[in-house]
């Protein structure tokens, strides 16, 4: 087992463990922190995949900005634990149904994904068999602002929409 | 012949009348009188146009099959045309429609007080659509009119009907629509066959006629078309919408429903089902005939025990329309001519019956037979009119009902006498239920005080019932005036069907001669 494999397993384990923790316990604060841990793991994997820029962005923007926003909201609303079923007005029959169904379906899904991947040709080859033609930040920038220029511009509208939306939705209720 | 597009005119006139009515301000019913006259005027003008059609129609053998033809492209992308024309059959039914609509309007002159303007608009739209059904030669156009007919009728039943009107209206529209939509699929299917055969789109009926449709497909298409039509007719066991619709509909609605709309179904059989799919028609004709004789007897028996006059008449329609389908199924000149004649006769006599029952129910606000009795003492004229129509309805020779029934039975007899043996029972039973009703309503002493002092026919009511009675007699005494114009058309259809039916050239071909159903099922083409 080479060092990259070791690293892969280590980062993968971190990512998985973080993710499992996100959904494995009830406190949302811990969940946010756990997902940040998971992101670190992913970031490490990106480095392994020779995508340093993505790795950095993953930490700085994703973990640093977006998750902090989450944390901020969690703190703002101050709901440390999941509340019990006092608000649960669904029919008793349906109360735990989706939960169980979701769990079963999730197992099926991973089974399907693995099964499918195992039968897909070309999966056995190493991810880095081909030398990367471009992977530097400069390459990324160049491609982003040529081939993906229009998509990049579109994201601006997306972000404006999200901003306006967030403002509209989160603004205090009208006094009327 | 005049250059006027008379067919378009007959369709447009009622629509124009309806449009004119839209602009009559009548918020509180202040202008009801004006509204009524405008509507009546429009419908009378339409009637005039249909009469002009009749006058201008050339019934000779050498004349073109379809006359007054108009054709304009409508949807070039699909070869859909605005394509109108009439042969003798359609002509007669158009005249019937033109005749009955003013009658129906007049019949509801005093019975309708609510939203008179809208009522009149719906009546006129209904008329336009029905006329369109009869003269459309483009199958798509036909379907458009066919389906649209449901809408005004739905409103007429639902808004101006009696107590269970909503149930009846919804049942009416859903039931008949359920049948029609399958026909729509079949129409599209035939159009595709035409497209694959010729590479061009068309919904031209005559091009469809010329198609060689594989037998396997014919069975399905025939069923789809025919179910749509026999629901409308209605044939047992698709009839249960009819009693409800009739009972709940206002008088005018019942008149039009029984008088014209049921004929649309039979007309469809004559114009589409049989000529388009002759092999399938031969195969299914015994089934249709069986259903129709069941309808004849069954309708009569059930009519006999109805406590409600309108329901009784409604079931009697089931019985009478059974004759029509029997005549069509026989597919010979006698049978089909009888069927068309019976359509006209039934339109007149059942329309009149509904008018008369409507007059009674206008006076007494009930239609239960048990509520009446001895009415002959208080309203002898109405009784006389009722009796004439009753006799017409039971098929007394000399009145209109006989000619059709006789020709139908003759046609069916030439084909397969067994059906006639059963169908003839309807002759007995119709007398039973109609005369029993007459007896219970009109004879005896006036037992119910509310029936004392009911007024006899008013002038307006004379205007409604007089022409109907007169026509019932004229049609019975001189039916040739009606039979002659339709004869070439009927002969042509019979010829077309028979020419393409090797199995059924002669009378009484056993049904087993037709290919079996199993081999007929289309395979693989349905995903």
């Amino acid at each position: 087992m080479g060092s990259d494999q070791l690293l892969f397993y280590a980062f993968g384990a971190v990512a998985l463990a973080g993710s499992v923790l996100v959904i494995g316990q009830r406190n949302p604060v811990y969940s946010v922190l756990a997902i940040i841990v998971s992101f670190f793991g992913l970031s490490g994997l990106y480095v392994l995949l020779e995508a340093p820029f993505v790795a950095v962005v993953q930490i700085i923007i994703y973990a640093g900005a977006i998750m902090v926003l989450f944390l901020f909201v969690v703190m703002l609303l101050n709901v440390p634990r999941e509340d019990a079923a006092e608000w649960d007005r669904t029919h008793p029959l349906y109360r735990s149904g989706p939960m169980r169904a979701g769990a079963v379906l999730a197992v099926l899904l991973i089974g399907q994904l693995v099964w499918a991947l195992s039968r897909t040709p070309g999966m056995a080859g190493g991810v880095a068999d081909q030398p990367a033609t471009a992977s530097s930040v400069a390459d990324v920038g160049r491609v982003l602002f040529t081939d993906y220029m229009f998509a990049f511009e579109v994201t601006s509208i997306l972000i404006i929409a999200a901003m306006v939306g967030a403002v509209v939705l989160a603004r205090k209720h009208d006094e009327s | 012949m005049t250059g006027l597009p008379l067919l378009t005119l007959s369709i447009v006139l009622p629509v124009l009348g309806a449009l004119a009515l839209v602009f009559v301000p009548n918020r509180d019913g202040a202008k009801d009188g004006l509204v009524r006259w405008v509507a009546l005027g429009a419908s009378l003008a339409t009637f005039l146009v249909t009469v002009l059609l009749w006058v201008g129609f050339d019934a000779s053998e050498a004349a073109p099959a379809f006359q007054f033809v108009e054709r304009t492209t409508w949807m070039p992308a699909f070869g859909v045309d605005y394509y109108l024309g009439v042969d003798g059959i359609a002509l007669m039914l158009m005249v019937l429609t033109g005749f009955l609509t003013p009658i129906a309007l007049l019949a509801s002159w005093e019975g309708i007080h609510k939203k008179v303007k809208e009522f009149s608009i719906f009546m006129l739209l209904l008329e336009a659509a029905m006329l369109g059904v009869f003269c459309a030669l483009d199958v798509f156009l036909f379907y458009v009119f066919w389906d649209f007919v449901l809408v005004p009728m739905y409103f007429l039943i639902g808004v101006w009907g009696y107590d269970r009107r909503i149930y009846a209206a919804i049942k009416f529209i859903l039931y008949t629509m359920a049948g029609s939509v399958l026909m729509l699929v079949a129409i599209i299917g035939v159009a595709w066959l035409h497209y694959t055969a010729t590479g061009t789109w068309s919904f031209d009926l005559f091009r469809f006629y010329d198609l060689e449709i594989p037998a396997g497909m014919q069975y399905w298409f025939f069923l789809a078309f025919t179910v749509a039509f026999i629901i409308k007719v209605p044939l047992f066991p698709f009839h249960t919408w009819l009693p409800d619709a009739h009972v709940e509909a206002p008088t005018a609605g019942s008149v039009i429903l029984a008088g014209v709309m049921l004929k649309m179904g039979a007309y469809g059989l004559v114009r589409f089902s049989f000529p388009l799919f002759p092999e399938a028609a031969a195969y299914f004709a015994p089934v249709l005939a069986t259903l129709s004789v069941i309808a004849i007897v069954y309708g009569a028996l059930v009519a006999m025990v109805q406590p409600d006059m309108k329901k009784l008449v409604a079931y009697s329609s089931v019985s009478h329309m059974g004759f029509v389908v029997l005549g069509i199924a026989a597919m010979n000149v006698n049978g089909m001519q009888g069927a068309v004649f019976q359509m006209l006769a039934h339109g007149i006599s059942t329309g009149a019956l509904f008018c008369l029952v409507g007059m009674l129910s206008d006076r007494r606000h009930t239609r239960l037979i048990a509520e009446f009795g001895g009415l002959k003492h208080v309203m002898p004229r109405l009784t006389a009119a009722f009796l004439v129509i009753t006799l017409a309805s039971v098929g007394l020779p000399g009145l209109n009902g006989f000619v059709g029934e006789f020709l139908i039975m003759l046609g069916a007899f030439r084909w397969d006498p067994r059906f006639v043996v059963v169908a003839g029972l309807g002759v007995i039973l119709s007398a039973v239920y109609m005369l029993w009703m007459v007896q219970r309503v009109y004879y005896g002493e006036v037992t119910n005080d509310e029936n004392k002092g009911l007024p006899d026919l008013s002038v307006r009511e004379w205007a409604v019932i007089g022409p109907l009675c007169a026509l019932a007699i004229v049609m019975g005494v001189y039916p040739n005036a009606f039979l002659k114009p339709m004869e070439p058309a009927v002969a042509r259809i019979v010829e077309r069907v028979e020419a393409r039916q090797p199995v059924r050239a002669d009378a009484g071909a056993p049904p087993s001669a037709a290919p079996t159903a199993a081999s007929a099922l289309p395979t693989g083409s349905v995903r």
């Binding site: - | 028996l301 000399g398 007896q439 009109y442």
Partner: protein, 684 residues
């Protein structure tokens, strides 16, 4: 000219029906009678013209217009006067005129509008009856056939306030319709077989065929037509309507239910004589049914107490005789009896009407008696009629009935002859029972007040004996005229045995023979040449007229013997009636005393009405009400329709519950979709 005969009564109908309510009784009644008399006169002229022709050419055809034409089928509105229809139109218009005149008095207590209504119906009836007899083809005949049924319906139900009257009217129409059903089937079979409905074409076609030895298509046609006739002419099994039809005014009973309409079936067989002759099996059925009906009706008539019902059963019985005649192939005899019967039965009915009129509506003979002094004209005319029907020699009934019995015997139907003779005994007995109880003995009407139930609404008032008055002039005229007819009518057909020439038989013969090659091109293409061999003009008539001498003598002896037997029987019957009924109180019927069970059965008319009701009417009603309507229609058919709706609605109500509102459930649905689709792709 020919069409004028039915047209005149029709005009009378139109006037009375449209403006009759505004006319006075004398105007409307007078008009109705006048058109009848006019029609009678036209008929005479026409028949005179006909008689002036050579016997083989005695046909007058008149086509008004083509009535129904469809494809190869075409039928004209056409009239035909030949010897047979000539007899009929004379009977119809002649006796019809008398009854119209009689009615002007009889119905005089009605209101103006009701009076006009009555006469309009009566005129309409005559119109249709004439259409029936003059019709040149089956369909025109059928128009009349149905039309007279309609008028019968209207007139039976004339007193429409009475439940029993309207019931009887409906019953008459419906029972007739059952016959019509068969008639139509027969007609259709004729069209399909012969290709035409013209009587001449039918006869021509049939004449070319040998008589059927097995039950073939001709037998079927004739049987179906005969079933139609059993309805119209009140034979087993469809006779039940006729006794009930006595609910109508008495002149109506006389005209429709005795003299004319009910004989239509007999006429129809006569009209299609050639056809029937080619179906011997049917003829046997006709004869047997006729005889059975005659006997059965005679037995019932023996115990009935309603004066008109006795006459009604008598009519049924006499119609049975006529069918017997037709059945044995003695068409002339049948028509002869039809013609004589029209006189004496009309007379009897009108006489009974006079009695009822005098007693203000009383119809129960137990409440009569001793009327012969009070109502002399009525009594004497009624007696003549009774003697005629009983077959007392010298009167009309004797000749015709005798001819029937003779023909029956001579055709080898001995058993039928025995029954016929027995019936003849019964006839004499019940008729004179009627005479005795009505006109002889003590006056029971004083003691018994008019029974409200049997009192016709047109005849209210007291029942005081002092008010008895005999028939007013208009009625008397009719009675006397008919009495004369009852005496004299028979002399048109005096048999050879008695030195007569049976002129009527000779006159009628061409009508029963296959037609000659058509003088005027009447036969449709394809029929010419078929029947020429049967067309030696007057051959059969001649054959009937000139039998060989040896046979002639034997026949004469036989005929005379039979005549003596039946005359004796008639006298025996009359004696029996006097012996049994003249000395007793009306209530204790000797038959009831001797055989109460038999009496009860007879009084209840063999329970046939009850049987029909229980076996046919009620089952159909229950089947329709509970089985078809509430069961099949509402539950099954409509149940399926509404059930579909309910299924959709129920499905909807259930499926919407899946929409729980929980976002997790929604996500689960999406997720499920994903997994299922992927599963399909991976594991298909």
């Amino acid at each position: 000219m020919l069409s004028l005969i039915p047209l005149l009564p029709f005009l009378g109908f139109l006037v009375n029906a449209s403006v009759g309510r505004r006319l006075t009784k004398s105007v409307s009644g007078g008009l109705a009678s006048a058109v009848m008399v006019a029609s009678f006169l036209v008929s005479i002229i026409q028949v005179w013209t006909l008689a002036g022709r050579d016997p083989a050419a005695r046909v007058i055809d008149e086509t008004v217009f083509t009535w129904i034409a469809s494809g190869t089928f075409s039928v004209d509105l056409a009239f035909r006067l030949d010897p047979l229809s000539a007899v009929m139109i004379l009977v119809v218009t002649g006796i019809g005129s008398l009854i119209h005149i009689y009615s002007t008095a009889y119905m005089h207590e009605e209101t103006d509008s009701e009076f006009a209504r009555y006469f309009s119906y009566l005129n309409l009836f005559v119109f249709f009856m004439l259409l029936l007899v003059l019709g040149a083809n089956v369909l025109v005949m059928f128009v009349g056939w149905e039309g007279v049924g309609l008028c019968s319906y209207l007139l039976i139900g004339y007193y429409f306030s009475k439940q029993s009257a309207s019931d009887a009217a409906k019953k008459a129409f419906v029972v007739n319709r059952i016959g019509d059903y068969a008639f139509i089937l027969g007609t259709l079979l004729t069209v399909v077989t012969v290709g035409s409905l013209d009587f001449r074409d039918i006869a021509t076609y049939v004449a070319a065929l040998p008589p059927e030895t097995t039950f073939g298509v001709l037998s079927l046609i004739t049987l179906l037509l005969f079933i139609g006739a059993t309805g119209k002419s009140a034979q087993i099994p469809l006779y039940t309507w006729l006794p009930d039809a006595m609910e109508g005014p008495t002149p109506v009973s006389a005209l429709i239910h005795a003299a004319t309409m009910v004989t239509a079936g007999v006429y129809m067989i006569g009209r299609n004589a050639v056809l029937f002759e080619h179906a011997p099996i049917t003829l046997v059925i006709v004869a047997v049914v006729g005889t059975a009906t005659a006997l059965m009706a005679g037995t019932i008539g023996l115990v009935q107490n309603d004066i008109k019902r006795v006459l009604a059963y008598s009519t049924v019985s006499q119609l049975g005789y006529m069918f017997l005649a037709m059945g044995v192939g003695a068409f002339g005899a049948g028509i002869f009896h039809l013609y004589t019967h029209a006189f004496f039965k009309a007379l009897l009915f009108l006489g009974s009407g006079a009695v009822i009129h005098a007693l203000h509506g009383e119809q129960d003979i137990r409440h009569m008696g001793g009327l012969k002094t009070h109502l002399p004209i009525t009594f004497w005319t009624f007696l003549i009629g009774s003697l005629a029907i009983a077959g007392v020699p010298g009167l009309a009934g004797f000749f015709s009935k005798d001819e029937i019995l003779f023909e029956t015997f001579s055709h080898g139907y001995t058993w039928l002859w025995v029954v016929g003779v027995l019936t003849s005994l019964l006839t004499a007995t019940y008729m004179f029972r009627l005479v005795v109880l009505t006109f002889f003995g003590e006056e029971r009407f004083a003691a018994a007040p008019a029974h409200p139930g049997t009192s016709a609404p047109g005849h209210p008032g007291t029942n005081a004996p002092g008010h008895l008055h005999d028939a007013p002039p208009a009625m008397a005229v009719a009675l006397v005229a008919l009495a004369l007819g009852s005496v004299l009518a028979g002399y048109l057909g005096v048999p050879h045995a008695l030195g007569g020439h049976n002129q009527l038989g000779a006159w009628l013969a061409p009508s029963f023979a296959a037609p000659c090659a058509p003088a005027e091109a009447g036969a449709p293409a394809g029929l010419e040449g078929l029947a020429l061999e049967a067309c030696a003009p007057g051959e059969e008539a001649a054959a009937a007229g000139t039998p060989e001498a040896a046979d002639e003598a034997a026949k004469t002896r036989l005929e005379l013997t039979l005549m003596a037997v039946s005359s004796g029987i008639a006298v025996l019957g009359i004696w029996l009636a006097f012996a049994l009924y003249s000395r007793r109180r009306a209530d204790d019927d000797p038959l009831a005393a001797a055989a109460p069970g038999v009496h009860r059965v007879l009084l209840n008319k063999y329970y046939v009405d009850e049987l029909y009701d229980a076996a046919i009417v009620q089952p159909i009603k229950v089947l329709s009400q509970e089985g078809l309507w509430r069961g099949v229609d509402v539950k099954v058919v409509d149940g399926a329709v509404n059930g579909t709706g309910q299924i959709v609605g129920g499905l909807s109500a259930v499926l919407r519950l899946a929409q729980t509102g929980s976002v997790k459930a929604y996500a689960a649905s999406t997720f499920l979709g994903v997994v299922v689709i992927l599963a399909y792709y991976i594991w298909r």
